[in-house]
């Protein structure tokens, strides 16, 4: 062969030998390469298949539709509104700062926040979508969609935002939602909230969070290396949240809030027949819509610093001395327990002493009411009558009796934050104070409890509930905002049965009649303390006025000097129910520092009753009214 002939020539040996070395070396490299290929393609194949798929299939959560909230008449109280965010994925944008500048120049992102946004983007992971503009107006969103290709890494994200048509008037009853915070995530099951952007914080939104929330779905999006979605695969459809139907009457809620005219206070109206809360207003309030769009820390601090406490739910958390509004309840207990007979009279000379040299307890009417029965004592709100009654019942009797009406215990309303209030007793005083000098009970304390002062404090909700119990002549239902829940799958509306919470059954039905009649006389009697208000009513109602000396709410921050005088004024209270023979509404109103007597609170109560009864009172009852 030719090869052999060349081997023979000088120098060929080296060439052949060295060629062999190099060929052997390459053979070795071929083996290394083969080993590498087998490792990658055969041994680790499934690993790399997973990686290739992970490259393309981006899992994404689909937020469920949060349940909506309707009032008793089907009016929308809390709705969902479609909104668009402009999101930027930093790692997909070629030049983040430049992209942001162009977005600003074209008006998609508000100018003046460049530095702030850049800093926020720097702190968030570069692969995570970041909202550079929340709530893009619809026409802007359309304009952006056309120019999307100019902005690598920027996209529009549609989402449902919460809308509260009632605004501030519904704030404390309905509550609000806010973005799921880092603190929420610590506390909650992260798998449940993956893909759910909002969480109910207070009110119905907060306490019915689990029903309203729904569950997130999942999809995988086939994406290319530039983050462009190519195809979607739905793995799991999101399950919408349940819709709620409230006992609340939207119109009444608005009206009650308006009647408060931004004064501090609360209105709670319930349907005595089932405990449905018709209106639950705390004033002043905040606009829950502000929380939806993401409230900045300055505004939030401002709300919390406001001395009028707009974030404080007075209706369930505010504790006030009930003043004279407690008298009908005490009267019923006195009749039921035999401390008084309906016909029994006493003489009021305008003041009361426990003993000859004890402190003088004055009646609101200096000259006294003269001779009066229990009926007159309630109608004219005689203090001396109730000083004496309290003395006879003793604080223990009062303590037990007021518990029948639900005072001193949480009512169990279906929103959070309720405070039980205080119905004093000797045992209570011993446990409430650590200093032995403060622990003993004085007879004078019993006396003032008789007119709803002293240590006795109740919430407006409790007061409304007790009034409802009188309206129902004994039965009290657990108060509730939500009457029915609509199953998101079947669409069926499941009504919740009213839950009795307390029953008072005195030996004689006469006792109820006496108390109710005395309350009717408050509004409609010739000497009724609220006869001016009663005269304007087109129906017969029962009510009771009250004023209570100021025991200030927890006050934070300084109070404006001009406000001090106003802040020392008495609180104005009013409880009522109507129509008297077939009650459909019972309420309690408190206007903080509203001045003495019936004025402020009674006017609010009358407006609420009028509004509700205009729609709900059977015509014959309106006709038979005086």
């Amino acid at each position: 062969m030719a090869i052999r002939r060349h081997i023979e020539t000088a120098g060929s040996g080296t060439l052949i030998r060295r060629t062999t070395y190099l060929v052997a070396l390459m053979g070795f490299f071929v083996l290394v390469l083969l080993a590498r290929m087998s490792h990658l393609q055969l041994v680790r194949h499934s690993h790399y298949v997973g990686q290739a798929q992970a490259n393309q299939m981006q899992p994404r959560r689909i937020a469920p539709r949060r349940g909506i909230i309707l009032d008793r008449n089907g009016e929308l109280l809390v709705a969902n509104r479609a909104s668009f965010h402009l999101i930027l994925v930093a790692e997909q944008a070629e030049d983040v700062s430049g992209t942001l500048t162009r977005l600003e120049n074209q008006g998609f992102v508000k100018t003046g926040r460049h530095g702030e946004l850049m800093e926020a983007l720097r702190l968030s992971p570069s692969f995570a979508p970041f909202a550079v503009r929340a709530m893009l107006p619809e026409e802007q969103a359309a304009r952006f969609a056309v120019r999307r290709h100019q902005f690598a890494g920027v996209d529009i994200e549609g989402l449902l935002l919460r809308e509260y048509p009632l605004g501030p008037s519904g704030a404390h009853a309905l509550g609000y939602v806010a973005a799921v915070s880092a603190a929420d995530k610590q506390r909650l099951d992260p798998s449940v909230y993956a893909g759910i952007p909002l969480i109910g914080k207070t009110g119905v939104e907060g306490s019915y969070e689990e029903d309203l929330r729904g569950s997130a779905g999942g999809e995988r999006i086939l994406m290319d290396a530039y983050g462009r979605p190519l195809e979607r695969t739905s793995d799991l459809d999101p399950l919408p949240g349940a819709d709620l139907q409230l006992a609340l009457d939207g119109e009444l809620q608005r009206e009650a809030f308006a009647a408060m005219e931004s004064r501090r206070g609360a209105v709670v109206a319930v349907d005595p027949r089932d405990g449905g809360v018709l209106a639950l207003v705390s004033s002043p309030a905040f606009d829950p819509n502000e929380f939806v769009s993401g409230m900045d820390s300055v505004r939030f601090a401002e709300l919390n610093r406001n001395p009028a406490l707009p974030m404080f739910n007075r209706a369930v958390r505010g504790l006030y001395p009930p003043g004279s509004t407690i008298k009908p309840m005490l009267a019923l207990v006195a009749l039921a327990e035999g401390y008084r007979d309906p016909g029994q009279t006493m003489y009021c000379r305008g003041s009361y002493r426990l003993s000859a040299n004890s402190r003088l307890f004055r009646d609101w009417k200096r000259e006294g009411h003269g001779t009066l029965t229990m009926h007159d004592a309630v109608a004219q709100s005689c203090d001396v009558y109730f000083y004496q009654l309290a003395r006879d019942m003793d604080i223990e009797g009062i303590h037990e009796g007021l518990a029948w009406f639900g005072f001193g215990a949480a009512s169990g309303i279906d929103i959070a934050g309720e405070r039980p209030g205080i119905v004093p007793s000797r045992a209570w005083k011993r446990s409430a104070f650590s200093d032995p000098a403060q622990q003993s009970w004085f007879p004078g304390e019993t006396v003032v409890t008789g007119i709803g002062q002293g240590s006795l404090v109740v919430s407006p909700l409790q007061l409304a509930q007790a009034t409802a119990q009188i309206a129902m002549r004994g039965i009290r239902y657990k108060p509730r905002l939500v009457e029915a829940i609509r199953d998101p799958v079947s669409g069926r509306l499941a009504a919740r049965a009213p839950e009795p919470a307390g029953m008072i059954a005195p030996e004689s039905a006469e006792h109820w009649l006496t108390v109710v009649d005395s309350m009717v006389a408050v509004l409609h009697g010739p000497k009724g303390t609220a006869r001016a208000t009663g005269a304007k009513l087109a129906y017969t109602a029962a009510g009771k006025t009250g004023t209570s000396q100021v025991v200030a709410l927890p006050q934070e921050g300084e109070v404006d000097p001009g406000e001090i005088n106003e802040r020392f004024r008495d609180h104005s209270l009013f409880v009522a129910f109507a129509p008297v023979h077939d009650p459909v509404i019972a309420l309690a109103v408190i206007v903080e520092n509203g001045g003495s007597g019936s004025g402020a609170a009674a006017a609010v109560a009358a407006r609420v009753l009028d509004t509700y009864l205009a729609n709900h009172s059977p015509p014959d009852q309106v006709a038979q009214a005086r």
């Binding site: 060349h6 080296t14 060439l15 060295r18 590498r36 290929m37 990658l40 790399y48 290739a52 290319d224």
Partner: protein, 369 residues
């Protein structure tokens, strides 16, 4: 079988054109398969295909022309060829076009990369220099050869193109080694390289250093320097035994794999045709290289044999280097996959080299007759 028929009378035309049937068949298979892969890797782009065809056409023409010259003529003109290429390399540094942080291109109506031509010119020059001595080259001559290698290598490194520079050094050293460079030179050179390594490391540009470090641990920076290798390994690994099928490379189609039509085309082959396809590609390159070695061993004259052997080994190492790079065995240095990558100058050079092989073959055949 066509190869068997190559020596039959029916292939008189090939002989008259001084072309080698075996080489042509294997190269044709690589080129045809390569075009199919390119079409897929480019996401079905006709323009990429058209560009590649035009460069391959130039390459085949150059091959056909070079096949006509006798090896003796080539040996004599070697200094001129070498000189011309070195001149072009100097020109690159003076008026070259920038691309990717380096100056690699010349544009005379048609863009080309002189450093690729050097991969052929350098072994031709070295083989020509060493063709006289039948013994191992004397120290003086060996030094001359080393300088002749060092000059273009230096110019290419200055561009800077470290990968091509290293390959050029390798292609120059192969004929020197084959010619019988004394062991003490080899040992001395290895020691020098070892000592020079730290100095070289310091003088490297940041991105070059990153590439070397990154080869050692690509996962350290998955979205930065390591990204290319990681995505390439995903492409290869996800191909499995039989691959995802033609036009099914998700890594290339969705843009995860960088440079799918140039440096990382082997990853696309491996992803779409699997282990079997990659093995077939490797076997084709082995077949071409074996045929080249066959011609080399049969060649007459020291120049022919030195050069043919060098070109055969050089061609196969080009394949190995690219495959090693895409599988993460070697640093990513931007070496094309022979005859398949969209790399005009490189492919023209590869085909020119095959033309020289064919010239050597017909020279031997002519004389053997």
């Amino acid at each position: 079988m066509i190869p068997a028929a190559a020596s039959s009378p029916g292939f008189g035309l090939l002989q008259r054109l001084k072309l080698d049937g075996w080489l042509l068949v294997w190269v044709a298979l690589v080129v045809a398969g390569g075009l199919a892969v390119l079409y897929s890797a480019s996401g079905g782009s006709g323009s990429v295909l058209l560009f590649q065809c035009s460069r391959l056409l130039i390459g085949f023409s150059v091959m056909l022309v070079l096949a006509q010259f006798s090896p003796r003529f080539l040996a004599m003109t070697a200094p001129w060829i070498y000189g011309a290429v070195v001149f072009l390399l100097v020109l690159v540094l003076l008026v070259g076009e920038k691309g990717g942080g380096a100056q690699r291109w010349l544009d005379f109506g048609i863009r080309f990369q002189p450093s690729e031509f050097a991969k052929l010119a350098v072994p031709v020059m070295v083989a020509s220099l060493l063709r006289e001595s039948r013994q191992a080259p004397r120290p003086g001559r060996a030094m001359t050869a080393l300088l002749l290698i060092a000059a273009p290598v230096g110019l290419v490194v200055l561009q800077p193109d470290l990968g091509t520079g290293a390959v050029l050094l390798l292609f120059g050293m192969i004929p020197l080694f084959l010619a019988g460079l004394r062991r003490r030179f080899i040992v001395g050179g290895a020691l020098t390289a070892l000592l020079a390594a730290p100095v070289l490391w310091v003088s490297l540009k940041d991105y070059q250093r990153a590439r070397v470090l990154n080869m050692l641990n690509p996962e350290a920076d998955p979205l930065g320097a390591g990204y290319q290798v990681i995505q390439s390994k995903i492409a290869i690994g996800s191909g499995g035994l039989f691959g995802k099928g033609w036009m099914q490379s998700s890594q290339a189609q969705f843009g995860f794999l960088p440079e799918p039509t140039t440096d990382f085309v082997f990853s696309v082959i491996s992803e779409e045709f699997g282990f079997v396809g990659a093995l077939a590609a490797m076997l084709l390159f082995i077949a071409i290289s074996v045929r080249m070695l066959q011609i080399a061993l049969a060649a007459r004259g020291r120049f022919s044999r030195l050069l043919a052997t060098s070109l055969a080994l050089g061609f196969f190492s080009s394949f190995l280097l690219n495959a090693g790079m895409t599988t993460g065995l070697l640093p990513v240095v931007g070496l094309p996959f022979p005859l398949v990558s969209v790399a005009g100058s490189a492919n023209v050079t590869f085909l020119a080299g095959l033309g020289i092989l064919m010239a050597i073959h017909s020279d031997q055949r002519y004389l053997a007759r």
